[in-house]
Every structure is written in structure tokens, then in C-alpha cells.
């Protein structure tokens, strides 16, 4: 350690010079040489036993606090009913149990950690000292020895003299990982044309989402007169009511929204053709990456997807007018059945939801 031999005059900057350097002592030799580790500056706890004892008590206090909070945690766990609510400014009504357990666990952990760190900073040594570092690479003799050992090992195996073994081994190892992929085949069925169809068929009753029972098995249809101009309805096929475990799979493609437009506002001839008295039904699944479009601007007939803000014009064939979606929202052709309820005329005429390679 070279702490003693340093130039203290330099360290304290004892010599004052003007901005041109007049008055400085010109150091001899390389002015940028490493002066070595500076001398250790003792802390108050190093020289004053009273201060050290105070630090000791502070550390001990933190440890005691931690232990008390640990016990408090267990008491709070058993004593606070899990439904109790605490009003805690400025957070508001929170679970009393969660609040108490969190605070007590926090104190138990934090005080223990703070005590240990404070102990290290005040009472443990802070005399920095160097340890040597060596180049990581081995010396040439070791490298040569290692190479020789390796060569000997390879020679002993005879793999160089027997190329047939080498080649067949490489071949066997090359094909060996393939079964690991093969065996994953049953992870799922092949796509087939399943992405091209939804649960909608000709005559499928449109169920009003708002009438569906909690268990999802009952719901009623929509009469055209229930939909006033400017209102927004969410719908699902009657098949979704009986889908059971497949419910989410059905909804992921078949969810629709219905609005009634003034027929004069409908810009696309096909849209008018597929509408019923100005009521149009569109897929609710965004053509970008499949979120449910949901934010309807009544005056402009714009429908916005809250995920990535693709905006579709419902009065113009669901055309994209802003955002990352590339394709219009697919429209579902609708009509009314003999009972006067809205039904689908057919399935969607194109795949709904995000694009995929085979879509075309």
C-alpha cells in the first residue's frame, strides 16, 4: 500500500496561483503520474468512542424495530379481519389487512437492511485497500499443455483415423433434435380454414349483449325499432348462448356492433345493401391485431379501437381513416326474420380480425 508516501501539499492544493498559473510550484516529472492511494480519512466513529457507541445504539435500535415489526406482522395477520377497510389519506379506502401487513413487513425488512448498512458505514472498516488483478488468459506454457492434452485425447479416441465414425456421429447428432420438434405437433390442430368462418350463418338471430343473463345462456333478439339513430348496440350470435366452454372462441370472431345511420349518410352502396333500414352490423374485432373496437363517435360515425387507435368510418363500409389497421371492419349482412328480429343474412364474407399469411 502506498498511502504514506503521497504529496500532502498537492492533495490540499496549498499553492494559490492566478489564472495564468503564476505562483504555482511546478511539479517535477510526469504531472499526470498516479500519486497512489490517498491517505485514509478517519470518520468520527473511528476516533470518537462516544460517537461509535451512539452508532452502535442506532444500529441496535433498527434491529429491535425490525424484530418488533416482524412480530407485529404475525399479530396483524391473525387479528385484522380480511374484510376490514381502512381509510388512509390520501389513498382512500383500502384493505386494512393488506395495509398493515405491507407496512409491517416493509418496516421489518427495511429496518433490518438499514441497520446492517448503517453498521457497515459507521463501524466497520472503511480503509480501502488494493488487491492485485491478473490477466485472465493463461500463460503460454499452460496453453500449450492444454492443447497437447486435448490433442492427445482426440488422438486416443481415434476419431481422426476413423472418418466413418466421425461422419455418422455428426449425422446422428444432427437429426437427434428433430423429434423434439416433431413431438410438439399435438400442441394444436392445423388452422385449416377456421379463421375464415365465424358462428354467423344465414338466419342466425342477433342477441343483444345487454339482455344476456349472468351465466351467458339466455338473451333476447333485437327488433329494428329498438335501435334509434345514433345508438350503439353490441351483439352476438344465438350460437354463443349455447357455446359453453367454447364461448370465448365463438366471441373472438363473432362479436358484432350495430348502429343505425341515416340511410342518406351511408356512402357505400354495398353497406346500404347489407343494412336493414339504416341499421348496419360490423365485426367488433379490430382488423389490426384483434382488440375489440369500442369508442363510437356518434356525429362522425367514427369507430375507434382503444388499443392502437385505428379509426374506422362506419358510414363508409368500415373504411380505415386513421391508425395502423390496414383493412376495413368487415360488415355482417343483416335482415329481419319472420318474428321481426334482426338476423344475419349470411356469415361474414371475409375473415374477421387480424391479417394472417394465408388470408390473401
Amino acid at each position: 500500500m502506498s498511502t504514506g508516501d503521497m504529496n500532502h501539499e498537492e492533495e490540499h492544493g496549498a499553492v494559490a496561483v492566478d489564472e495564468h498559473g503564476h505562483g504555482a510550484v511546478v511539479p517535477a516529472g510526469d504531472p499526470f503520474a498516479d500519486p497512489g492511494l490517498p491517505a485514509h480519512r478517519p470518520r468520527i466513529t473511528d476516533i470518537d468512542e462516544k460517537a461509535a457507541r451512539k452508532a452502535e445504539r442506532q444500529v441496535a435500535l433498527l434491529f429491535v424495530l425490525s424484530a418488533a415489526a416482524t412480530i407485529g406482522f404475525m399479530v396483524a395477520y391473525t387479528q385484522i379481519p380480511r374484510t376490514a377497510v381502512a381509510n388512509f389519506f390520501p389513498i382512500g379506502a383500502v384493505s386494512a389487512s393488506n395495509l398493515a401487513l405491507g407496512l409491517l413487513l416493509g418496516v421489518a425488512m427495511f429496518a433490518l437492511g438499514a441497520g446492517a448498512i448503517y453498521w457497515a458505514r459507521t463501524l466497520m472498516t472503511d480503509v480501502e485497500f488494493p488487491q492485485e488483478r491478473h490477466l485472465l488468459d493463461s500463460d503460454p506454457a499452460d496453453k500449450a499443455d492444454a492443447a497437447a492434452e486435448f490433442t492427445q485425447g482426440v488422438d486416443d479416441s481415434g476419431i481422426k483415423r476413423r472418418p466413418l465414425i466421425k461422419r455418422t456421429l455428426i449425422g446422428a447428432l444432427a437429426v437427434l433434435p428433430l423429434p423434439a420438434l416433431w413431438i410438439l405437433r399435438d400442441l394444436g390442430p392445423l388452422p385449416g380454414d377456421s379463421l375464415r368462418h365465424t358462428a354467423w350463418t344465414g338466419g342466425e338471430l342477433i342477441i343483444n349483449d345487454n339482455t344476456v343473463s349472468l351465466d351467458g345462456t339466455k338473451g333476447s333478439g333485437i327488433r329494428p325499432e329498438e335501435i334509434t339513430v345514433g345508438s350503439l348496440f353490441m351483439g352476438r350470435p344465438a350460437a354463443a348462448l349455447a357455446a359453453g366452454e367454447d364461448f370465448n372462441n365463438v366471441m373472438a370472431k363473432a362479436a358484432i356492433l350495430l348502429v343505425r345511420l341515416d340511410p342518406a349518410d351511408i356512402a357505400s352502396a354495398q353497406e346500404r345493401d347489407w343494412s336493414y333500414e339504416g341499421i348496419v352490423a360490423f365485426s367488433k374485432i379490430c382488423t389490426h391485431v384483434g382488440c375489440a373496437v369500442d369508442l363510437y363517435e356518434q356525429q362522425t360515425h367514427h369507430m375507434l379501437c382503444p388499443c392502437h387507435q385505428s379509426t374506422f368510418d362506419l358510414s363508409d363500409g368500415g373504411k380505415v381513416i386513421f391508425g395502423p389497421a390496414a383493412r376495413s371492419l368487415p360488415q355482417l349482412p343483416i335482415t329481419v326474420n319472420a318474428d321481426g328480429f334482426l338476423v344475419a343474412k349470411s356469415d361474414f364474407t371475409q375473415p374477421v380480425g387480424p391479417s394472417f399469411w394465408e388470408r390473401g
Binding site: M1, D18, G21, I91, R121, P130
Partner: protein
């Protein structure tokens, strides 16, 4: 430093006897002798990786608790637990069990919230730690391998986080999975198949939650644990880097010993991090899945946001123009493929290979244990800040709807701003950063030559006013001149002495050009003469 060799005497204490027992079987004394008092250098920025490590441990501890109560199943159940707003609603077992953990298991909500907070802190700490490594050049030889391991840890952490917050099967995470499905579908040729194999058929299917559960609690944590172990062994074996300073050289490491100082400091710091996570879990609600409701594909909530580390992908998706190609019965969705796979692919590949690119540019084959101050390598620092700006713009646009509603701005203009800023921002940031670095280097140079302004103005007998300068102490002079000033290569240097161009001349030319860009502008360190002139000559 313990200078006097210790005398061996048969152990008398229980601890000593236990150590003796182990030593006779494992030979631990040899390792303990050299490692117990191993020196670690001290600097605040060296604890960032520690935060990542400790939050990982917290994640394992709280995660084990959560697995005891979580049911990784998409089977449908009807909820009738103590959270009455959801009474009678159909939901998956995964969602129902998460609600139960939050309301019916004592300490369950705390463990969930601590787990989630620790996950956010985990990825944050990894990110900031990696930036520290980048800007200080700690990735240089011999630590390139550890950089790649650390990079892999970051990728695994992102994957782990995404898998984890998708498990509760709530409306928010289900929407995130739907987006993931859309992204997978955009992969040319195999996308549809990958999606069907991952989800066990059409989205969402009934298989994903149990599959993600295995990925989240076994596969990825296993990889993380293995890689973290190797990462730490390498830090230990290669010894920690340190800042330049008096007495600190490439051949030593100056600091305090593992036992007791770092045992107490690092051990204590673990509890501090755990304490902070516990406070957050007790005080700050996070991911209240009961208020989102179970996932149903036709529902959505406006203003939904992913966890912070997925935000840049979200922004990237949001700002991309709607390009899509249809040809020969196939579709390529550039509007999804580019922002969600190509852009992060480029960003992450660049991050992974940067140490090797820089080594190729500098041609530097030496070991480096003294850290670079970011200002002393302006081009690297500029590249880093440009990368951060690129990421930052993506991340900000990920919240374009919230920015629009909070600041009453037009959503469209924010998106358009992002589309330009994502390209222009990094260029501007690079340029500004390099200028700042050069400026700081000049200031350092000035400090070495002329010392510090003391604030004392004196008047000479001739009437001239001047300010007293305090000369830089030897330690500062050494510290501020300890770095290398790299020089660009010229084409003559890549040809041999007879003017015959080196083999692979095109690569050499490219390298010369890149070094020109890297080191073309540089601030030279003061020479001995300049120093002597400045200190005695009285002219600048």
C-alpha cells in the same frame, strides 16, 4: 490486508468445528482464504445490478407463495367469493383464483402486489444496469460474454414478465394476449401455425394459461436462475471494474472486503429492496384485476396500458402506418410485422452485438478494468443516447391516448409527431450528446491545465484583475488524464508498407471510415509541455 500468516490450531468453537468438518470433505479453506476478504470497489452505480438480483429473489419467494393458491386453468367456474361485484359471473378458474388470492387469502393481496412491483423493479433495474454497463464501457474485453449473458437475461425477463401478467386471465391481460396473437399471425408463412400450436387451436382456446404457467414458473425462471448464477460467477472471477482514480489501475481493484463490509452492505441492501417492495405492495395498488373483470373477447377498456416494459412495443404498433401487402393469395401485414418484430429485432440485435462492433472498430485487444467516463467516448455515448431516445419515443407513443386526454392534444398529431420523432429524435440526440461530451472533455482538460476557479479576484500592481486558480491536485490530474484518446485509421494504415492494400481491402476501408466517424473529432489530453506552459508560462 491481513499481513501476518495465521497459525493453525484445532478448532474449539462449534462454528470452527463445522468449518473443519466441511474442509476435510470439500477443501473449502483454500477458496475461503482467497475469497472471504475479496475486494469490491464502491460506487453507487455498481448497485443497480444488485437491485435486479434482489428483486429476482423477492420474485421467487412471493411467486412460490402465489403458486400455492393460484389455479392455472381456463375451465369455467361461477364466482361466489367475497368480492360481491363479481358474484355469479362466469370466469376462468385462473381469474377466480386470482380474485380469491386478493380477497380471501390473508396476505395474498400483499404477495400479489409485492410480486408485481418486484417484477417492474426487476426489469427496470436490469435496464438501468445495462445502460450503466454500456455507457461506462464495462462490456469491453474480457466481459463481452457476460454482456451477452446479461442481454439474454433482459430478454428472458421481458418474456417472464409478459407471461406472468397474462396468467390471471383478466380483461387487460387477455387483451394483451389477443395483441400477441395478432402479432404472431403476422409472421409470414408459419405465423398461423405458430399461433394455433401456442393457443392449442383458435384464440383464446382453453390451453394457454396452463402452458404459460409452466413457462412462467419453471422454464423461464430456470433459465434466469442458471444465467444469473453464471453472470455472478463471472463477475466474481473476472473481478469488478472500477473507476480511474489515484491508486486505481488496470492491475488492481481497490475497495472494501467482502467480509464484513459487503456482506453487511449487500445483505442489508437486499432487505432494503424487499422493504421498499413491501411498502409498495401495502400502499400502492397495482393490477387490480377484480376491477377489470374476466377476459371476454368482445370487451375492452379505454386507456388500457401494459406493464411499462411492454410499452415500447405498444407505441411501435400504434405509430406504424397501415401498410399491408396482398399477393398471390397471401398477406404480409407490415403494419404489425415491422413494429412488433422487426423493430425490436433490430434494437435488441444491436444491443447484443455492440461490444463486438466496437471492438472491431477500435481494434482494441487489451483487457479493460478501468471504466470509461461516458464523456471520454463521445460516439459510443451518442449512440447510447440515440438508442434511448428511439426507445423513449416508442414508449411515449405507447401512451398517446393518455397524453391526448390528459393534455387535451389531438391523438392524430401525437402519433404523427411520433412517426417523425422516432427517426429525427435519435439523430438530434446523438449530435447533442456528442457536443456535450466534447464540451465536458474540454472542461476536464481546462481543469487539469489551469485548476479550479477559486472565486478570489486579485489586482496586480499594474492594475490588472485576475482570478486566483487552485491547481488541480495530483490525484485529479491523474484521474482526468487516465483515459485513452482513440485515433481514426487512415487508408494508408490499412495498406502495407509497400502500398499493397491489405487483404480484404473493402472491409479495411469500411473500418477506416467507421473509425473516422467514431474518433474523427477528439479532444486531445494535455501534454506534459502544455501543462508546464500553463503552470509557469502564463499564457493560454
Amino acid at each position: 490486508m491481513s499481513a501476518t500468516p495465521a497459525e493453525f490450531s484445532p478448532p474449539a468453537t462449534p462454528g470452527g468445528k463445522a468449518a473443519e468438518y466441511l474442509d476435510q470433505r470439500l477443501g473449502i479453506a483454500k477458496a475461503a482464504k482467497s475469497q472471504l476478504r475479496k475486494i469490491f470497489p464502491d460506487h453507487w452505480s455498481f448497485m443497480l445490478g444488485e437491485i435486479a438480483l434482489y428483486s429476482f429473489i423477492i420474485l421467487i419467494l412471493t411467486g412460490i407463495f402465489l403458486t400455492l393458491f393460484f389455479t392455472p386453468s381456463m375451465n369455467e367456474v361461477t364466482y361466489n367469493g367475497s368480492y360481491t361485484p363479481l358474484d355469479g359471473i362466469k370466469m376462468s378458474e385462473a381469474y377466480a383464483s386470482t380474485v380469491n388470492i386478493s380477497f380471501d387469502v390473508r396476505g395474498g393481496l400483499l404477495m400479489r402486489q409485492v410480486h408485481h412491483w418486484a417484477a417492474l423493479i426487476f426489469v427496470m433495474a436490469i435496464t438501468v444496469h445495462m445502460l450503466r454497463i454500456f455507457f461506462t464501457g464495462a462490456f469491453r474485453k474480457p466481459r463481452e460474454i457476460n454482456w451477452v449473458i446479461g442481454f439474454t437475461l433482459l430478454v428472458c425477463a421481458l418474456l417472464e414478465g409478459f407471461a406472468g401478467y397474462s396468467l390471471p386471465d383478466d380483461l387487460l391481460s387477455g387483451t394483451g394476449l389477443r395483441i400477441a396473437e395478432g402479432v404472431i399471425l403476422s409472421i409470414p408463412i408459419v405465423g398461423t401455425y405458430v399461433s394455433f400450436f401456442l393457443f392449442g387451436g383458435e384464440f383464446p382456446g382453453n390451453d394457454l394459461v396452463p402452458r404459460l404457467f409452466t413457462i412462467h414458473i419453471l422454464l423461464v425462471p430456470g433459465i434466469l436462475l442458471a444465467l444469473i448464477t453464471v453472470h455472478l460467477i463471472l463477475v466474481f472471477y473476472q473481478k469488478h471494474t472500477q473507476w480511474a482514480g489515484p491508486g486505481r489501475t488496470e492491475d488492481n481493484v481497490v475497495g472494501l472486503p467482502l467480509l464484513p463490509v459487503y456482506t453487511a452492505k449487500a445483505g442489508g441492501f437486499f432487505f432494503v429492496i424487499f422493504g421498499v417492495c413491501a411498502f409498495l405492495g401495502g400502499l400502492v395498488s397495482i393490477n387490480p384485476i377484480w376491477s377489470y373483470g374476466p377476459y371476454i373477447p368482445n370487451q375492452i377498456s379505454a386507456g388500457s396500458q401494459p406493464d411499462w416494459y411492454i410499452g415500447f412495443l405498444e407505441g411501435s404498433l400504434r405509430m406504424m402506418p397501415n401498410w399491408e401487402w396482398n399477393f398471390w393469395g397471401h398477406t404480409v401485414s407490415f403494419n404489425v410485422l415491422i413494429p412488433s418484430l422487426v423493430v425490436p429485432g433490430i434494437l435488441f440485435t444491436g444491443l447484443a452485438v455492440y461490444p463486438f462492433i466496437e471492438a472491431w472498430v477500435t481494434g482494441d485487444r487489451r483487457e479493460h478494468h478501468i471504466l470509461d467516463r461516458p464523456r471520454n467516448v463521445p460516439t459510443r455515448t451518442g449512440i447510447g443516447v440515440a438508442g434511448m431516445t428511439f426507445y423513449g419515443v416508442l414508449w411515449l407513443v405507447g401512451g398517446n391516448d393518455l397524453i391526448a386526454t390528459h393534455f387535451h392534444l389531438s391523438l392524430e398529431s401525437i402519433t404523427w409527431f411520433g412517426r417523425f420523432a422516432v427517426f429525427l429524435g435519435p439523430i438530434f440526440a446523438f449530435w447533442v450528446t456528442r457536443r456535450i461530451c466534447y464540451g465536458l472533455q474540454r472542461a476536464d482538460r481546462d481543469k487539469v491545465l489551469h485548476g479550479r476557479e477559486s472565486g478570489i479576484i486579485v489586482r496586480s500592481p499594474e492594475g490588472e484583475f485576475s482570478e486566483i486558480h487552485t491547481p488541480a491536485p495530483a490525484g485529479d490530474r491523474y484521474k482526468l488524464t487516465a483515459h485513452d484518446v482513440h485515433r481514426p485509421l487512415t487508408l494508408t494504415e490499412v495498406a502495407d508498407s509497400n502500398g499493397v492494400p491489405a487483404p480484404r481491402v473493402r472491409q479495411a476501408k469500411l473500418r477506416a471510415r467507421v473509425t473516422q466517424w467514431y474518433f474523427g473529432t477528439r479532444i486531445e489530453k494535455p501534454t506534459e509541455e502544455e501543462y508546464h506552459d500553463a503552470i509557469s508560462g502564463g499564457h493560454h
